[in-house]
Amino acid sequence: MSKPTDPAADPIIVVTDLVKQFGRFAALRGVTASFAPARMYAILGDNGAGKTTLLRALAGLNRPTRGSVAISGSSNVRSVCREIGYMAHPSLLYDEMSGTENLRYFARLYDIEDQARCTAVIQAVGLDPQLTRPVGQYSQGMRQRMSLARALLNDPRILLLDEPFSNVDLRSAREMVQLLASMRDMGKTILVVTHQAFLLEGAADEFVWMEDGRIVSRTQDFNSAIAGQV
């Protein structure tokens, strides 16, 4: 675990009294938290705890019912969307196109003309940029890695990753964790929603435990975080 910046530094993400309701169901019930730059956070919790909803709200995909989200000092997430890389549980990729074709398309959405950038991120996640078969024919693990490559495409300062290790074999998952740790060391802020907390032992700077739409504990100690789960 490395600490390149002071955790007490100005937070890059500030969430204030965030409430998100879907009809009568409240997925988030007043989340207040701040996240410092250049740190990796593991967001843990049972199914339905509100982890994905929190991540989607940070990505600007869910409009808060109440409360606010500020990224890099701006409460308009849309205006800072270039600073955010978002990886969802589904792949967010077109099954009929190859990985490179997918990334070339998404690169254009970010005004990235440099084709070498697509090749670089595909290599960074350990895939072959020459692979021509459509994403629909990838294994689940390859799809997850290509999905991570898409999130890295715009070289974001903040990475929001929802279940990046699900269906990925242990060795590949550990490689992904190493990649994330190196990106954190380069100054990126990383929020990882996962049910596989053990993968982030020694890599995450802080473990955030959610329950019933609230953050109930934050700790830097992996064992305490796990104890909270039981």
Partner: protein, 221 residues
Amino acid sequence: MKLTRATLAKDLRLEWRSKDAINSMLFFALLVVVIFSFSFDPTAEESRQIAGGLVWVAFLFAAVVALNQTWARELRNQVLDAYRVSPAPANSLFLAKAFGNFIFVLMLECLMTPLFIVFYNLRALGPAYQLPIVAVLGTWALVVNGTFFAAMSLRTRAREIMLPLLLFPISIPAVLAMVEATTSILTGEYSARFWIVLLAAYDLVFTTSCLLLFESVLNAE
């Protein structure tokens, strides 16, 4: 326009590979032509009177099949979210989808029109050069609203039923103008000018409205 071109190229590539929309549209339109031709046995004069209605009803129904597919592939793997988190403007996506549907429906019309001419023994007695103008304006009227309402019904449970329920009532003025303009050109009995101007005005009003409202539709939860 660069982003619109990129999304349009991507959609054309996906359609070329899957052929989902084109195949279902062609099959549907072909069925309508054959069934209508068995149902009626009109004289050449009667054909000219009814062909405008038959042609546009067939194209409208077939277009709905394609329009339902438009957003379906954006829902698979939630790819639409990748667009929503990007800085790309919503209108680029809308225009790309509308242009894509326009190309698909226009292709269908080019393929089906010769069949209509053969089955109904059609020959225009009015100014035939106006027919392509009616086709272009009419097709745009169908697809611009269709693309918009298909996006609107995207998150509804019965979206394939919802689309025609939303689209058909609002398309009535356009369909009326298309049918009247086509009939007037085929029969040569009156001028199609008024109906063509009406279609152009309809296109202008609804294209502007859709562009103004699309961002809200895209980000609706």
